[in-house]
Homo-oligomer: 494 residues x 2
């Protein structure tokens, strides 16, 4: 069964601008992949007469006609009055897809076969955007989200973070907290998550099963650590290997939505033997790798002391086969400079930018504009519980704001724009999970339906509506969520 | 009728620590002022047998027993397990009011008369905190909240801000937007607002009437501007005086919740004659004053050029009687330094710190720690639409984060703590409106009841619950709102 979704569609093919299709269509095949996106039904090989199959949004959205009441008439007029935008209107118009771009796509489809088995689903006046991707978050710190924010790094780690992670020796505790975590990721529209769990194999399995039951994509890391850490958070290299292999046995189908990811906590927490073994496991089982990089100057100095032959922190990972030998993401990179940056580019190592965490933990401002200029791939991490906010939409806002602070000090590099932040949150961040984060043909259909009527109290353009939702909105406006073509319902927490 | 409210009570008498009363009581007289706050009913002169008057929270909160279901049993156990907090527990215990402090208060009340006419209202497991105060926000930019954030100051002003403010020549448009604005302030728990309207007298009157109807406190500024501004946003000094006097005639009872405030936009927008007249009006009618100060280096240079005899930007206002001759608040003060700081202290001029605006408009980081160290009074402004977020809770979070960035660069001054930010949002910010922002005896009872059960998925301490609500919460957890002792219901927008 092919499905065609109609809505106001926004996504980013490139970082510099949005594709905006007012009342556009996206077609998704039975495997959950986008086949086409178009301004009209005809170019999708679905003639308009088939629209009798249309499910109207009113019943789907749980909003019966009486509820919409007087509002419904107002909402019909969604086009922005260009004169209202004044001189700027011409500039903003350029952010919409121009006809030639769609034309090129349309011509390719001219001789498409007719589809008999097509359902057309109309989301009315809602926005349809790619779902969010979170590239760095500590699931086993979820209880501590938003507390102890007045503490500095060391007392925070020793009094809050490590004691909390130790509790995950108890799989019942893990189940209770991880259910909240997965449900809340669902709430904020994050359909793919790359996360640290804890050292505990069975609790990690609990989390992976919860993601799988929910139908949400995840790379889940059993954490490797065996030095400079408290007694209860250390295990031997052999235990680590056994744990990973047991998870791999259950979860490592190549196309699975939920897979293990090799996760040395960071170099100071892992002996050379553990690091080497992590690198070997990644290659042997074709697993992704995640860790922390250059978050803090003291940390960098410590790594240099522990790995005196390394030329930079990134090089220390590289020597253990943990820096792009398989797809790799590194969180923070606040102090990543020339040589490390070049190595990341060469190896295709991604950056997980965690702006709220960098503020809360008094880290600093990562040079994101420079990373983008150098061609590095950058996505977002909520980094709970260093970060306090699980929403990747809020990471966009913070990233733009941090980048403006950079700009305020040095006008040589412009600040991040909304389309760049959106691209990082969707297409670029999603690339760590495969063809995820765009509505271009071939991409997995990970999507959010945004019903922003409560934010939309005047005639805003489609793009202004998206901007307002990103800056002001929250999970209340997320009406539906899709991952790999499937609608994802709210995961149960009880 | 005296009312006694029972809940977990948190407020700040001083900036350095919270007063926390687990299952405490606050008594409010018929005029809406706090008479006492205590750990037990007996010391309020209300003996426990009178608790049969208690309204239970279940019916009040609209949560019937069946809705609470399994959860209710869990919530009964609200005490934090000290062992969970580990080494830190002892430190955190100190944040609770120690018995001696309450003891001192209790002794004063020992010979209190019995009150016959007392109603006791039990908010169960909810938190009870002072309501929020917003010291700087542009009501007439409300439509533009969260759009055009990629623009720099000048195109933003000329293409979005000025055209929007011009629309307020139409009182019907004003009514539609201002209703949203007042309703949304209500939503986020802001019970006192010091706001810029526009130059338009009749639209300003509309806004003041909406605040009055809602029962919420406000200082509302008809904006004075007559140079360096577009045609439609300029009026003569005579028109300004007439407009102010017409508003004063309707609104200037000394004890009114809603009053006009003298509001020259800023020095570059006002001729010397307009500035002088503003100063005279403030003194003549005992009105507060608000404006902008030292937000931007170009602005400061322009003021120096326009007012060559002034020794600093603040001194320029001072020469026109607009710098503390009556209670004065100045927004931003990002580049306020030694001389200006000293003059502000001398004159008692308050700072409205607008952290999100300063980030969005690429302004910089205001030296808040230094202001506090110098003894200046500092509150928060959401500064819509330079700021994008109306919630003063979020201003606390941003202020702490910005202050951490400062700290990260210069460890000489510590970063703001949660209690300091809370004190700025409540007792210090509230001081611009009178005795507002605390639960100490004599203070007007402006309060929020926080039902945080959906954030509260483990055993957190009362203070951790407040911290989580501030960092993660939103209007959904604000169960009730009080202004000057009266419960404020949701203002109608239709």
């Amino acid at each position: 069964m092919r499905r065609i979704y109609k809505a106001h569609i926004l996504y980013t093919k490139e970082k510099d601008r949005f594709v905006v299709l007012e009342n556009g269509y996206v077609a998704v095949d039975a495997d959950g992949r986008v086949t086409e996106v178009a301004a009209d039904l005809e170019s999708l090989g679905a003639d308009a007469s088939k629209r009798r199959n249309t499910k109207t949004d009113a019943s789907q959205l749980g909003a019966d006609a009486s509820q919409l009441g007087a509002d419904a008439s107002k909402r019909r007029n969604t086009k922005t009055d260009a004169s209202q935008l004044g001189a700027d209107a011409s500039k903003r118009r350029n952010t919409k897809t121009d006809a030639s771009e769609l034309g090129a796509d349309a011509s390719k489809r001219r001789n498409k076969p007719e589809y008999d088995d097509t359902e057309i689903i109309d989301f009315g006046d809602c926005l349809l955007i790619p779902a969010m991707n979170d590239l760095h978050v500590h699931a086993a710190q979820y209880r501590n989200q938003g507390i102890a924010m007045d503490l500095e790094l060391l007392p925070w780690l020793h009094n809050y973070t490590f004691p909390e992670e130790m509790k995950y020796a108890d799989t019942e505790y893990a189940k209770r907290m991880y259910r909240q975590f997965v449900r809340d990721l669902w709430r904020v529209g994050t359909m793919r998550t790359c996360t640290f769990a804890s050292i505990h194999t069975e609790s990690t399995r609990v989390l992976m099963r919860l993601f799988r039951e929910a139908g949400m994509g995840a790379l889940v890391g059993k954490v490797g650590m065996n030095r400079n850490c408290p007694e209860g958070l250390s295990e031997s290299v052999e235990q680590m290997v056994q744990g990973y292999e047991s998870l791999i046995a259950e979860f490592n189908e190549p196309d699975a939505l939920v897979r293990p990811i090799i996760t040395p906590r960071f170099i100071p927490s892992c002996t050379p033997e553990m690091l080497r073994t992590c690198g070997e496991l990644a290659v042997k089982y074709h697993l992704h790798v995640q860790s922390h990089l250059s978050e803090n100057k003291d940390e960098i100095a410590l790594v240099q002391k522990l790995e005196p032959e390394s030329t930079c922190y990134g090089d220390a990972y590289d020597r253990y086969g943990l820096f792009g030998q398989t797809p790799t993401v590194m969180a923070h990179c606040v102090f990543t400079e020339n040589e490390e940056m070049a190595l990341m580019k060469q190896r295709g190592v991604m950056v997980a930018h965690c702006p709220t965490s960098n503020l809360n933990v008094t880290t600093g401002i990562a040079p994101i504009r420079q990373f983008l200029d150098e061609g590095l791939r950058v996505g977002f991490g909520s980094d709970i519980s260093g970060g306090h906010n699980l929403s990747i939409f809020q990471m966009m806002v913070y990233a733009i704001q941090m980048s403006k602070l950079h700009y305020q000090r040095n006008h040589a590099r412009s600040f991040l724009t909304l389309s760049e932040a959106f691209w990082m949150a969707t297409k670029c961040g999603g690339s760590f999970f495969g063809k995820v984060g765009s509505f271009e043909p071939g991409y997995e259909f990970d999507a959010l339906v945004i019903d922003d009527r409560d934010l939309n109290h005047d005639n805003y353009s489609i793009l202004e509506r998206l901007e307002r939702f990103i800056y002001l909105g929250d999970d209340r406006q997320i009406e539906k969520r899709f991952c790999r073509g499937r609608e994802i319902v709210e995961p149960k927490i009880g």
